[in-house]
């Protein structure tokens, strides 16, 4: 599906729908609770066009997830190139009007968990916990774990916190809060990166739960979620990634090296919902291969071709290999076909950053070789379809509710909007029907609304020339009711349509010129 084209149609239709529903719904005699629900849904519907798709990046530690995000954003905002696993928290990068940084701190409960971990010396993550806790409690790293544990626990109790010195008070101040860093202090990418690094290397590191970075250059439709890398020995933070992905995400970016899928990655894919996502919606899984430049460098040296040529060849090879691995992972009858639908992109993040940042680059590659732009475009296209899905989902929820709650409130009785407004609604709703495709619930909702609007036009404003359209609308609605499993409603609607048709026949004998013949109800797709 062409994401851009749909997005172009979704936006005006959404706006029209919002206004139509806002106009129509208040008249339906709803309770306050329903009003609240509808208002929320409408607000979400209005927001859909501005929503950013979450893009979680899963991969082994040091595979270059942070570097990849930096490249996609076009700025070095995340700390990359470290020793050992670097990203220890869920880090979110999104686009915005100005650079910004938000830090969410853990609550007292999680702090207590940290304190409790210091009790068991033989626990697998004892060393790690001790180091972090010692820094947090402002104690030397070789301090007595019991003491640190006591200090930390005192921070969770208001009465003790004040008496225990400034650090404890400072911890307590931050627990369960969200800190917004002054935008002025992070106005350039370098400042932003240093601010992020400061939060992660400072004593606060142990109580940071989530970091949100807003970058002006980041694509507006994407929110990158940098997950801690998996696979490093004795790294408790790897859990974060698995936990995050356990309910199947809408979309997943799997970052691998030039060896393709590793056992560790496959284990995570199996344990989380990603394998199911891969089976059901292979388009929504993107495999990104990093560090291809290293191999290209070797290859260009040994085969005597340019790096760019080597890279192109390698890209073909590795894509094929990863596809075979995916097929092996899926291991079902349609594995081959399914794996063909997965997007596999090989990128050279570091060179891209060098190219974008006008660094004195020793790279022999150009931006199209780097492949970051193509990846970004692909993700943005996915974001468009994602928005469409979100839109449909909200509409479905909405109409589902409307059908359940509002079916018997028809026709509308209160003073209706102006005939022009109603006509505009009718057009919008007809358009919307073509956009949403064949989802019966949504179609039913749209047709119901259209029928109501037409009925209002005729009964309230006497625009009887819309009667044939009302009849068609009713017939269409009847078919939809049948499809959604409401035979009684269908019958009622059908009878109404026949009545109206008879009235139409009496009131205005058919001229055969301006009244179109009654079209059969549109067939619904299964």
């Amino acid at each position: 599906m062409e994401g851009g084209a749909v997005a172009g149609r979704v936006e005006p239709v959404t706006q029209a729908l919002v206004s139509a529903l806002s106009d129509l719904v208040p008249h339906a005699g709803l309770s306050t609770a329903h009003h609240g629900f509808l208002a929320r849904q409408l607000a979400r519907l209005a927001e859909v066009t501005t929503l950013a798709m979450p893009v979680p990046l899963l991969g082994q530690s040091q595979v270059g997830k942070s570097t990849l995000i930096n490249a996609l954003v076009g700025r070095r905002v995340l700390a990359a190139g470290g020793v050992g696993p670097l990203t220890s928290h869920e880090t979110v990068v999104r686009g915005g009007h100005e650079n910004g940084l938000g830090v969410t701190y853990i609550g007292p409960g999680q702090l207590k968990v940290l304190a409790a971990r210091l009790r068991d010396r033989h626990a697998p993550d004892f060393d790690d916990a001790l180091r972090r806790a010692a820094a947090l409690a402002d104690q030397p790293p070789d301090a007595d774990p019991e003491l640190i544990s006591t200090v930390l626990r005192s921070a969770t109790e208001a009465a003790l916190a004040r008496s225990r010195g400034t650090r404890i008070a400072a911890i307590r101040e931050r627990l369960s809060t969200h800190e917004r860093v002054d935008p002025a202090s992070v106005r350039t990418p370098v400042l932003l990166r240093r601010a992020v690094a400061a939060r992660l290397h400072d004593w606060t590191a142990a109580i940071v739960e989530r970091i949100e970075v807003t970058v002006t250059d980041s694509p507006a439709s994407l929110t990158f979620i940098d997950l801690p890398g998996i696979g490093t020995f004795a790294d408790p933070r790897a859990e974060v990634a698995t936990r995050f992905l356990t309910p199947a995400p809408e979309l997943a970016v799997v970052v691998v090296r030039n060896s393709g899928l590793t056992n560790d990655i496959c284990a995570v894919l199996r344990h989380t919902g990603i394998l199911e996502l891969l089976r059901a919606q292979p388009e929504r899984v993107v495999v990104v291969i990093t560090h291809l430049d290293e191999v290209a460098r070797e290859r260009s040296r040994s085969d005597g071709v340019t790096r760019s040529t080597a890279l192109r060849l390698l890209r073909l090879e590795i894509t094929g290999m990863v596809r075979r691995q995916l097929a092996a992972l899926l291991a079902d009858a349609s594995a081959g076909a399914t794996s063909e639908r997965v997007a596999i992109r090989a990128v050279v993040a570091m060179d891209h950053l060098a190219l974008v940042g006008d660094e004195p680059a020793e790279t022999a590659l150009n931006r199209s070789d780097a492949g970051i732009d193509a990846l970004r475009a692909h993700l943005e296209a996915l974001a468009c379809t994602w928005r469409q899905r979100q839109w449909e989902r909200i509409l479905r929820t909405l109409f589902d509710r409307l059908q359940r709650e509002l079916l018997d409130i028809a026709p509308l009785r209160t003073s209706p909007p102006s005939p022009d407004a109603l006509l505009a609604h009718v057009d919008t709703l007809r358009d919307a029907e073509t956009v949403v495709g064949g989802e019966p619930t949504i179609v039913a909702g749209l047709r119901l609304l259209r029928r109501n609007a037409l009925a209002a036009l005729i009964t309230e404003h006497g625009r009887t020339r819309h009667l044939p359209e009302l009849v068609r609308s009713r017939r269409g609605l009847a078919t939809t009711w049948l499809a959604t499993g409401h035979p009684a409603l269908a019958r009622a609607e059908h009878d109404e349509a026949t009545d109206a048709e008879q009235r139409l026949g009496r009131a205005r004998p058919r001229t055969g010129r301006d009244v179109p013949p009654l079209a059969p109800a549109p067939e619904l797709q299964p």
Binding site: S61, G84, L261, T262, N263, A328
Partner: protein, 795 residues
Amino acid sequence: MRAETSASVESIRATAEQTLEAHRTLLEPLLEEHKAPFLETVNNCAELARLALRRESELHIALVGESQVGKSSLLNAFLGSRILPAGGVGPLTARATYIAHAPVAALHAHYEGARALNQILFGIRSHLDARRGSGSASPDDPPGPGPDDDPTRGEYMLAQARRLFASAQTEALTDEMVSDALRLVLAQDRLWPDADLSALEPRIREIQGVLGTEHHIEESPGASQALFRKTLASCVTGPLAPLISKLDLALNAACLEGLRLVDLPGIGVFSDAAGQEASTFVRAHAQSALVFVVRNNGMTEELVRLLETAGVITRLLFSSNNARPAIHVAIVVTHVDNVVRERHAQAREDAELEGRRAPSRDDVFRLVAAEMDGYIRDQVSKVLRRSESRDAASDDARLRRDEVIDRLVTTMNVLCTSAPDYLDIRVGDGGFLQTEDATGIPALATLFHGLADELRLDWRAQVAAALRDLCEAAGGQLDELLASKEDEGRKDEPWRQLIAHIEKISSGLEQEMAAYHGDALANLRDAMPAYLETLTHRAADAARRRLASLRKDGARLPYGSLDAALRRGGAYTLRKIDYPGQLTLALIDEIATAWPDTVIARVRSVVATLAERDLSLVERLCDEAARFDHDMARTLAERQRGLLRQAAATSVKWTDALLDQLRTKLQGLLQDAIGDDLASACEKARLEGANRGEGAKARILDVFHEAGTIAIARSQSKVLAVLRQEYDRLLQQISRSYLEQHANPLAAVRTSLTGESAVRADQTAAQRLATTRRLEAARTRVTELLAAVRAMEVA
């Protein structure tokens, strides 16, 4: 330095071979001959030493790491040329590649046999069947899915097979075609004969050609290295690469001298069975040093899993002694330049912001390397501390293990490298880093040689320990044998004791035997004369009964005949009157009939009894001796038994001839006695005129009777005398033939026994002396060898 190590290897080898040779030719036969109780232990020690010696060729330095971590690139940088295929996609090194030094570069590839191909085919078939569902299984399929029904494995095998045929076929190659092509290789019938496989035929023949073979390619002297590299690459990454089971690579690189490197396939790639290879290698080659090649995230779960399952951690923790670890390990971090690039870029940004000068790349590299070093050590410590093996230990053991871990972590080599940069710098192409040293590759050479030296030290210690064990065990055994020979100095003592014992008991036995002999002789001497008298009486009675019957017969004869007989001294043969003859016969017949049955038999039985008794005495003596030496005593006893039996049989040589002789002698004697008496009585009666007148017949008969009776009575005493005389002769004969010859069988046995024992005693003493000399010589040799081994150990 390197020449030194190789010389020391040679000297170790020489010492070891000397020792083993001594064991084979000298110690083993000697110990076996003397039935040393711990011969097996000594042999085991020798076997261990032999194994330890052989292990020198297994002192590999193996590169273990995840796939694409850059193991081959690292080796290329170390070798100074891109000789190994690196920089590919996915796992490149499919099999362990053994790299060693040789004057001429050569490549030796071992190809899999048909069996491995059959396994692949079976795997593919099961996989395809499972994928298509059980309904479409071909008729000759085994029922049910295969034993390893893992789809990942099936996919992998399919991928391998596909790789075999991929480049030969430009059009779409279906899985079925691949499977059929494999079947054709193995000369099996096709399952899907529809597809056209003619394009694959050259490849099929090519595969058939290499199955189970070994290929040896040498670098031709004139050709460029690039050509050899191409050949190598085509072999390792070419279409036939999946069939290679082992790859030996010999390179003419000076830096390789004294090293044996193994490039292992990368681990951790999904659906890549080659990853198993590394684990198998690590488990099988306990002697090898391990170089863990990791990226900048350090040890991964995958790597730690391998270490745990291959037992490396357990050995490091529990087999390391205080001074030396059980396995020599080092960690090489590759791709550090990636980090440095990032860091450098950030540092430049920071420097710009703060108006400082940006640090140089090499400086950043050093900084990162230092940081990495700390991180890796910390991580290794964690890996070891968290191992399940350690958790299982007690608190006390854990503390001790912690010390081991601390030492390991501090002494372990951690090296940060940037392999491709090194090569770029070398060819003057300008890598990211500027100096060779910064890339860490020169240090890698030191690391490799250091590891190789450590391995050799370990090997030397092992060989020395095994040899020392051998020498000590053999020496101990020899000492024991020598001590037992010392004891054997008293081993002839029992023989001498036996002689004394035999002397003692044989005197008692001899007395017993003398008593037996006395009894027997007394029996024969005393009881028999009375019997002889009885016998004579019985003969006289018989003669008298004959005389009476002669009278009755005479009464029926005419007077003339009797008269004629009277005239002729009682014998008138014309009328068959023969008083002297008849009486003589009557006497002789009785005696001749009874003599062998009674007298001879009696004597014989007595002699036999005597022989039995003697034998029993001899056996008693022999039994005593048998308690010491069964065989010798038995032989002697047997011999005596035979002798005694024979003697008993031959001692009474009374034959028919002797009987006839006796009869003739008696007849002559009696005829004279009886004939004379009758003749004189007849003469007297005739002179008195007894043959005249009335009743002359009765008177003649009276004369006969009377004279006969007197003659019988006289003959009786004569016969008795003769018999006595004969009997005495018999007794004499017995004493001559038995009692004299075998007067003392015991004495004979005793002499034999004591003589034999004395011989034995002397032999033992002589033997001991010879053996002791040999043992002592062997012991001296062992001591010499032990000294050599000790010297080697210290060197």
